[in-house]
């Protein structure tokens, strides 16, 4: 008995539960609402889950991980295929218990696989990089699988939450519209507004640093402007700059200016006393000190502002489009499609915004890594 239980202690509970769950998925005699898999499919699924889980109880090598990946994804595909295509008929209890036990089994197997990949510590840098990438990707994919299966299996109305497949279908079908909206909102309002807001905040910070009275005069004003509510600013900007993207870029400029100003000012003060005294002993001029000491020392702060502002800019541009806009743009699309109850299109826009925002943020992070490699938080 002890020998049988031994593998459970070293993280063996998950594969053990997976085996239990897959057997619970078998239809009971006379249970018509249970799993709709053919005997062959159910047999194959059971065999692969049991073999993979049993392997995980003993070891966590490439073979076990590969088999775990194949079995969990094949199982997920079978289960998704088993779901009804349309909405569940009214009054339907949804999928039977056999289906949910099979889902739990496949999900536990996937969990074990990710857990074992995380436990690997490959020596080769490429393998380590692959493992580091695989974990978040597997995590994200399984989030989508569970989302899909739960929404469709429980018959959640698509107005509340559409399935990822429905959102994906919308993304594919409406590519032209989505691209036009992306170009209008992201490539014009967001990028132009972000660049102008960050650029002017940076330049004004240099000016404020040189002219001390500005610090007392300008900072409170800047603080005030940044505290203005966007729903008040956006209509005013539409009156000033018209319906098209420049008014949205202006909102973005107002939102991003102040974070950059404050961060750059803090960064310019970041150089230590001794480092400045050193410049003084070299009889360095103001410009030389700025260029060779204070600006490099300020870069971590500047990049912080660039990253904060990348998110602010996207939010600002989308929300600003709720207040008067031509008939294109991500914010415009979201506000009109919500009105038409076309929630899958709203989600498609959200997906585009999330992807664009993440890539934008990631790109700034990459440049930051190159520029501030020396900062303690970046050293390796």
């Amino acid at each position: 008995m002890n020998a049988l239980l031994a593998p459970l202690r070293g993280g063996g509970v998950l594969p053990f539960l997976a085996i239990v769950a897959i057997f619970l998925a078998f239809p009971l005699p006379g249970d018509a609402t249970s799993l709709g898999l053919s005997p062959v499919a159910l047999g194959g699924l059971t065999a692969s889950v049991v073999v993979a889980a049993a392997l995980f109880l003993r070891r966590a090598d490439a073979l076990a991980i590969g088999l775990g990946l194949v079995a969990s994804f094949a199982g997920a595909a079978l289960l998704i295929d088993d779901l009804p295509d349309g909405p569940l008929p009214a009054g339907s209890p949804g999928m039977g218990q056999g289906f949910w036990f099979a889902l739990v089994a496949v999900w536990l197997l996937a969990w074990t696989t990710v857990d074992r990949i995380a436990g690997l510590s490959p020596r080769h840098p490429v393998a380590r990089r692959a493992a580091d990438l695989a974990i978040p990707i597997l995590f994200g994919v399984w989030l989508l699988i569970l989302w899909e299966v739960l929404v469709r299996g429980l018959g959640v109305p698509s107005v509340l939450l559409p399935a990822p497949s429905a959102i994906g279908a919308k993304l594919a079908a409406e590519t032209a519209t989505l691209w036009a909206d992306f170009r209008q909102t992201f490539l014009k309002s967001v990028l132009v507004g972000w660049a102008l807001g960050c650029g002017s905040g940076f330049l004004v910070a240099l000016l404020v640093d040189r002219v001390p009275f500005l610090k007392r005069g300008l900072l409170p004003v800047g603080n005030l402007v940044s505290a203005l509510p966007i729903v008040g600013i956006a209509p005013i900007m539409v009156m000033w700059f018209g319906f098209d993207w420049p008014s949205k870029a202006a909102v973005v400029v107002i939102m991003t200016f102040f974070p950059m100003l404050v961060n750059t000012l803090a960064g310019l003060d970041a150089a230590g006393r001794m480092e400045r005294d050193l410049m003084r002993t070299y009889a360095a001029g103001h410009g030389q000190e700025l260029l060779k000491l204070r600006l490099p020392a300020a870069m971590p702060f500047v990049f912080n502002a660039l990253k904060i502002n990348s998110t602010l800019a996207l939010i600002g541009a989308i929300v600003a489009e709720f207040f008067g806009t031509p008939i294109v743009g991500m914010g415009f699309r979201i506000s009109t499609e919500v009105g038409r109850m076309a929630i899958d299109m709203v989600w498609a826009e959200i997906a585009v915004a999330a992807l664009a925002g993440s890539l934008f943020y990631g790109a700034i992070g990459l440049v930051e890594r190159l520029v501030t490699f020396w900062h303690p938080s970046m050293r390796r």
């Binding site: 230590g272 001794m274 480092e275 005294d277 050193l278 410049m279 003084r280 002993t281 070299y282 009889a283 360095a284 030389q288 060779k292 000491l293 490099p296 501030t372 490699f373 020396w374 900062h375 303690p376 050293r379």
Partner: protein, 268 residues
Amino acid sequence: MTEARSSTRPSVIDARGLSLTFTTADGPVHALSNVDLTIEKGDFVSFIGPSGCGKTTLLRVIADLERQTAGTITVNGTSPEKARLDRAYGYVFQAPALYPWRSIASNVALPLEIMGLPKAERLRRVQKNLALVNLAGFEKKFPWQLSGGMQQRASIARALAVEPDLLLMDEPFGALDEIVRDHLNEQLLQLWAKTEKTVVFVTHSIPEAVYLSTKIVVMSPRPGRIHDIVESDLPRGPRPLDIRETPEFLKIAHRVREGLRAGHSYAD
């Protein structure tokens, strides 16, 4: 202890009645009070005293990092400001103060860039001075990849790269362990003998001051002033570390210690 060695060499630093009072929220702080001091060319002078005796302040006044509130001081016969603008001295701080975004070579080249020297000359001086402090081969490393002792040596190379006749050092080895400190002291003395620079060195270690110096300025706090000036009769030039066990050495160390004790006693 031979006060007889009269000044045949020109004086590099000349302070008369030098005082500096900081105004703080708690009232005035007399950092320096009525300091008279002459430092001659080629001297190795140490300022020693407890914290708050104004030794660092005096060094900073010489470097034009602080201004005196009374009295006069000349550096190389001119005002400290003129001397600073002429880049007449190299300054070594308590910490290496290397810029982390610059490699070691580029840190040493920093003052040379500011002076506007051509690239070939910068390169030559960087190579030469890194070799002088035994850091050849570390050009491409970044400061945070080196040990504390190596970083401080790089900062000395940076001060030397300016090729000043005067080297001002503010407790440069204070943060290092004793073994590294001994080693760097020995190297510094060899360097000084080789280059015939004038060195002003702030420390609170008696052995360090006596081992290195031709002249030891004993200072006392509240207000910061010079209590005693001890001329060392140990041989000039490189000295073996063993010299610290000789009776001559101990005699000087004894006098410095007595001076420190006397300068301190009234305050307690």
